[in-house]
C-alpha cells in the first residue's frame, strides 16, 4: 500500500494498461509535455511518440480519429484537456462513437476511453468548470464514470480501458492533488458498482465525483450531532448501481441526492425519479436534490460560490428530511 495522488493514480492506470496491452495508446494535445495537468508526465519517454501521441488542437478529429482507430483494432485513450472542450467533438462522440456498434448491427465495437476533466477549480469560469455528466448518461451506447478517490481512479480507469464500449471518464480537476492509499499490484474496480463511502441509517445521500468529499465532511458534522447518514458514491453513472441505492433507501426511507452540476435535468433527477417510482411506499419523506442553480459558473469567488453546494446546505437538507413533518 502506497499513498499517492488522484492524478498519479490515473497516470499509473495508463502505464499499467499500456504495459499490459500493446493496442492501448493515448492521443491528445500536449501529451508529450505531460498533458495540461501532468497526467501523462514522462509517459512519452516510456512509450514513445506513437503511443503517447501529441495532436493538433482538433478536438473533433481527436475524437473522430479515436473512433476510427478503435474500429481498426486499437484501444485509444482520448484526452480532452477540459470537459468543456469535448463539446467541439459532440458529433464524433454522440453520433459516431456511441452509435456505431448498434447502427452497424454489431459488426464491431468502439473500445475507447474519453478522459474529460470536469468541475469547478480555481476561478476557471464558465468554459473550464462544467460538469456535464448528465448529457452523457442520456446517450445510449456510452458508459459514464466519475471517480472520486485515488484508489478508484486507478481501478476504474483500468476497467474503463478494458471495456469494449466507449467510456466517458470524468475526473474532477479539484481532486488531482487529493492523496489516498493505492493498493499494490493489480487493482481493478468494476464499472457499474457504487461504493458505500460511509454507512448510516438516518438518510441515504447519493452523490458522485468531488461532492463525495463534501458529503463526507457534512456527515461527520451530522454524526457529532447524533445523525448517521449513509453516503453512497455512485462512481459509475451509467450503468448506475440501482441495487445499492435502492437497498440503502429501503433501510433509511430518506433520500438526498447531491451533485455539483446544475440541478435542473441533472443526473440527480434520474436517481430521485427512479427512487420515487420504485420505492414510494418505503419513503418516509419526499426525495430531495441539491445541485447548482442554473447559472453559468463565474470567475470571482464570491460569484463562483453561488454555484457550489456547501456542507451547510447538505446538513440543512438532511435535517429537513429527518424533521418530524408538521401538519400544514
Amino acid at each position: 500500500m502506497a499513498t499517492d495522488t488522484y492524478l498519479n493514480a490515473g497516470r499509473r492506470a495508463v502505464i499499467e494498461e499500456m504495459q499490459r496491452d500493446g493496442s492501448v495508446w493515448a492521443l491528445g494535445e500536449d501529451l508529450g509535455r505531460g498533458g495540461v495537468f501532468g497526467q501523462y508526465k514522462g509517459l512519452q519517454e516510456m512509450f514513445g511518440t506513437s503511443r503517447i501521441a501529441d495532436t493538433p488542437i482538433s478536438e473533433a478529429c481527436i475524437m473522430g480519429a479515436a473512433v476510427g482507430a478503435a474500429m481498426t483494432g486499437t484501444r485509444p485513450i482520448v484526452e480532452m484537456r477540459f470537459s468543456d472542450f469535448a463539446l467541439c467533438a459532440v458529433d464524433e462522440l454522440v453520433n459516431q462513437a456511441a452509435k456505431a456498434r448498434f447502427m452497424f448491427g454489431g459488426q464491431m465495437r468502439v473500445p475507447m476511453v474519453v478522459r474529460e476533466p470536469i468541475g469547478m477549480w480555481r476561478s476557471s469560469a464558465a468554459q473550464h468548470s462544467q460538469s456535464l455528466e448528465a448529457w452523457y448518461a442520456h446517450i445510449p451506447g456510452l458508459v459514464v464514470v466519475t471517480p472520486s478517490t485515488p484508489a478508484d481512479n486507478l481501478g476504474l480507469l483500468k476497467s474503463a480501458i478494458r471495456n469494449d464500449d466507449p467510456v466517458v471518464y470524468l475526473e474532477h480537476k479539484n481532486l488531482w492533488v487529493l492523496e489516498g492509499d493505492l493498493p499494490d499490484g493489480e487493482h481493478l474496480v468494476p464499472l457499474g458498482e457504487a461504493a458505500i463511502a460511509r454507512a448510516g441509517d438516518a438518510v441515504t445521500i447519493v452523490t458522485w465525483s468531488a461532492m463525495r468529499h463534501v458529503c463526507l465532511i457534512a456527515a461527520e458534522t451530522l454524526s457529532a450531532q447524533g445523525v448517521e447518514v449513509e453516503v453512497i458514491d455512485l462512481r459509475t453513472l451509467w450503468p448506475w448501481d440501482r441495487d445499492t441505492v435502492f437497498g440503502s433507501v429501503q433501510r433509511t426511507g430518506r433520500l438526498l441526492v447531491v451533485q455539483e452540476s446544475v440541478s435542473v435535468a441533472g443526473f440527480g433527477a434520474e436517481i430521485a425519479a427512479s427512487v420515487a417510482e420504485a420505492l414510494h411506499h418505503d419513503l418516509k419523506a419526499p426525495v430531495r436534490r441539491l445541485g447548482a442553480p442554473r447559472i453559468p459558473i463565474a470567475y470571482a469567488p464570491a460569484l463562483e460560490d453561488r454555484a457550489r453546494v456547501s456542507q451547510e446546505s447538505i446538513i440543512d437538507a438532511v435535517r429537513g428530511l429527518i424533521a418530524p413533518r408538521t401538519a400544514a
Binding site: 476510427g68 481498426t72 452497424f104
Partner: protein
Amino acid sequence: MAQDNGHNLDRDRFGAMLQLMHRIRAFEEAAIAAQKDGLVLGAIHPSIGQEAVAAGICANLDRNDLLLSTHRGHGHTLAKGADPLAMMRELFGRAGGTCGGKGGSMHIADFGVGMLGANGVVGANIPIATGAAHGLKLQGSDRIVTCIFGDGAINRGPFLEGLNWARVFDLPVLFVCEDNGFSATTRTREMTGGGGAGARAESLGIPAVAVDGNDLVAVDAAARAAIADIRTGKGPVLMHCRTYRITGHTAVDPATYRPASEVAAQRENCPIARLESALRLAGMADGDLARAHGEAAREMTDIAAQARDTDWPAPEAAYTDVQDMGDPRERAF
C-alpha cells in the same frame, strides 16, 4: 478523353467495370422503385450518374483496404464488394440486412469487405477514416484507407481537421471529393470560397489531382497513381472527381432548383454511356454491351423480390448491440 483512347482499352478490365456501374445503377433504380412501393422505408440518396467514382476508385483497392462512405454510399458499398441482397434487405429494414435492419441506407456497412460505414452526417467520416489509417499505421499494417465525401463536406470543420491530421501523421489515406455540384439542394459553388477541395488540400501540403469523375478510365488511372503513391508511404492524396447527380438530393426530391436542360445535358455525359462508347470503339460488340445492362437489371430486380420476401428483424433485437454494460430497457416503459 477516354473516348479518344478507346482503341487501347483493356476490354476485360473495363468490361467488368462497366458491369459494376450497371449493377450500381440497377441497384439504385430497384431501390427507387421499391421506395415507391413502400418497401424502402426511409430516405435514400441515389448516386445515379456518379457511378464512375465508386467503380474507378474501388477497382484499385484490395479487399483488405478500408473504405468510408457518405449518406450517398450504395455505389461505394457495392463496389467494395458488399452483397447487394444484404444491402437491399437493409434498405427494406429486414433481417439479414448488412446491419440487421438497424441502420438503413445511411448506415450501410460491411466490415467483412472493409466497408466501415456510410454516414448520416456530412463530413463525419473524414476524422474516422483518418483515425482508421492512424490505427493501421500504429499496427504496422500495409493496408490503406479511402474516404469518399461530397463537395458539401469541404465546408465543414472536420474536413480541415482530418486532412491536416492525415498530413501531420503521414497517414495512408486517399481522400476522394465526389463533387456532384450540390450541397443537398444548394449549388456548392455559391457556398464555397477559394479554389475548392484541391486547393484546400494543397494548402495543407496534400497533393491533389482533379479528374473528370464521369470518365471511368480517367478515374481509374488517377486512383491507381494516387494509391500507388500512398502505398509507398508518401502520405495522403486528395482526388477531386467532378460528376453530376442526376436525381435530386433524395429519391423523392424533384430537384426543381435546376433547369431540365442542365439535367438533360448531363444525362448525355453519363459515365455508363461514355464507357460504353469507349468500349464500342475498343471493339466490344453491341450485344455484349446490352447484355451487361440486362444482366444487372435482372440481378437487382431479383434481389428486390428476395428482399421483399425476407422476415422483419425480431423486435427484441432493438435491445442488442447497444453496449455491454447496463440494461437498455431500464426505466423505458
